[in-house]
Point group: C2
Amino acid sequence: MNIEGIKNIITEGGLKFTHQRMVIYQAIAEAENHPTAERVFEQVKSDNPSISLGTVYKTLDSFVTAGIIQKFVDNKGVMRFDGVLEAHSHLYCKKTNEISDYKNADLESLLKKFFDKNQIEDFEIDEISIVIKGQKL
Amino acid sequence: MNIEGIKNIITEGGLKFTHQRMVIYQAIAEAENHPTAERVFEQVKSDNPSISLGTVYKTLDSFVTAGIIQKFVDNKGVMRFDGVLEAHSHLYCKKTNEISDYKNADLESLLKKFFDKNQIEDFEIDEISIVIKGQKL
DNA sequence: TCTCTAATGAGAATGATTCTTAGGGGGAAA
DNA sequence: TTTCCCCCTAAGAATCATTCTCATTAGAGA
Ligand SMILES: [Mn+2]
Ligand SMILES: [Mn+2]
Ligand SMILES: [Zn+2]
Ligand SMILES: [Zn+2]
């Protein structure tokens, strides 16, 4: 994605455009692997050696609040950031510790149909996510 | 559960029976709410005022390794312990922060059937869990 | 350009969890 | 029963991810 595209996403999220936000968003958008804040920090330091880790945390949090990225907690308890906004599932590899995306529209609609029929009593569902643990072959 | 029952579970897990292990297992077995280690510690201190938090962590970890309890990480990144061993899903309430169990055999078999048909390429599934976020009504 | 406010950098503080170490207890063996 | 050994435990230090504080800076609009 080019600079203008990133700038638009950030400002349309209601955030002031800064150099730090620009490189941090870019790192998330380009990442394939649901990076941690620490990993984003390392990635971004080459372009911006004076950036601080606190800024990375705060910026990622602003992005989540603005709805332009997602976050979740991995099974070690560490925060992971995800530039993919659509609902999708995650594959956890026990061997490599990588987390990869699994998108399947059939699965989404299967679940939607199931929970439409089988309402959970006294509970209103906002979102459903599937965590699949296993290993790459 | 009575003391003999708990003692059997602990020793059949290959662990030496101690007073600390007994009260910690009892706390998990009686808990309805997927307690944190800290919460188990508070619970158990009344019976055993000299117990240490480190012992609670190590004991819970031994139980998990022995396969007599389960653990997972909640969406704040904190470890939760669960005396329920069968596969089941969890409901996260955004209002009360409670985590409750959702067991539905139809859902389990639906998912099993789906992933039997739709194998994920180059990935061998060990376990699937569903996280449902929403709120109690 | 000037001003105002929100963003940033640096580092301290916090919270959950793990590690280290010294002492204690219980069972096997003599 | 006594000894020996190993494992368990208590206490607190250390670690790691994350949040907070506060002084300084830099966008964006006037
Ligand atoms: Mn954590
Ligand atoms: Mn933590
Ligand atoms: Zn993803
Ligand atoms: Zn449960």
